[in-house]
Amino acid sequence: MNSADRPRSAGVSRLSVFLLELIIVIVFFAMASAVLLQVFAKADQLSDRAENLSCAAAAATDAAEGQRILSPEEIETRRYYYDENWEPLAEGSGPPSFYAEAAPEFSVGEAGTLVSFTITVRQIGESRKDADQIPLYTLQTKKYYSGKYPQSDGTQEKEEVQ
């Protein structure tokens, strides 16, 4: 090696070390990013689940109270629809993303009727098929009516409690 070549060779060697280091840093950064991205995705998923669960519980409570204030003759299986932001939807006003279904079950006793409501909140999947609906929250509640329901002649034997 002559004296004219030495600085150039040292420069090239330094540059190649720097480039090699840069490649290692990029590879390591890519690996770390892949792991950290998964952590961020998991946090986002958990946050979405928490939001859906909270809104589903609110929707179930709304449906339960909506059913409980009805007179026993008006009680039937009802569905309350919500859009993707959990805003209530009127029927046919747009594609729903969630719905709360309140299903009553009448149990006629000696003096009155105990109505058990099962409220199930579900998320509607992309395919809009029944099998693609994810249950989010289920709430059970009861309401007692003094009188026997449902009655075929539409009469009421006793006044409702309260």
């Binding site: 770390a32 950290l36 952590v39």
Partner: protein
């Protein structure tokens, strides 16, 4: 006097930068995961409480049905007040009245199961508060 200004990264600088960036991202990712997890746990607690409240309310309605059935047979209820536990510390208290064999729901309220004992946690400090 014709000096060239040499501005370049030395060997090892990208590694230091990488360590710093990865460390920052790790802290941020951990914090966001912890926040999301605590949010989810809080939501679960809240929904569990809602379910517990409605379970107590259902028990109260079943009790009303039982009392009304008893009244139709001419049996007066043992008590006009009943309590249904919601949590370890809360209960749903229902009060009824029976007039002329008819049942009337007077009150339905959440009450504390235990009365707070104010003497249990006396101030432990000896500071004198000057008015």
């Amino acid at each position: 006097m014709n000096r060239k200004l040499n501005m370049s990264f030395g060997t090892g600088a990208p590694v230091i930068l990488l360590v710093f960036v990865v460390l920052c991202l790790t802290v941020l990712a951990s914090l966001s995961l912890m926040t999301a997890l605590s949010d989810f746990r809080l939501t679960e607690k809240s929904t569990d409480y809602t379910a517990a409240y409605y379970a107590a309310d259902s028990a109260a309605e079943a009790w009303l049905a039982e009392v009304d059935a008893g009244l139709s047979r001419g049996t007066l209820p043992e008590s006009v007040t009943a309590s249904f536990p919601v949590t370890d510390r809360q209960a749903l208290q229902v009060t009824i009245s029976v007039t002329d064999g008819r049942l009337r729901l007077l009150e339905e309220k959440l009450t504390a199961v235990e009365v707070w004992d104010y003497d249990e946690h006396l101030p432990q400090f000896s500071d004198v508060i000057v008015e």
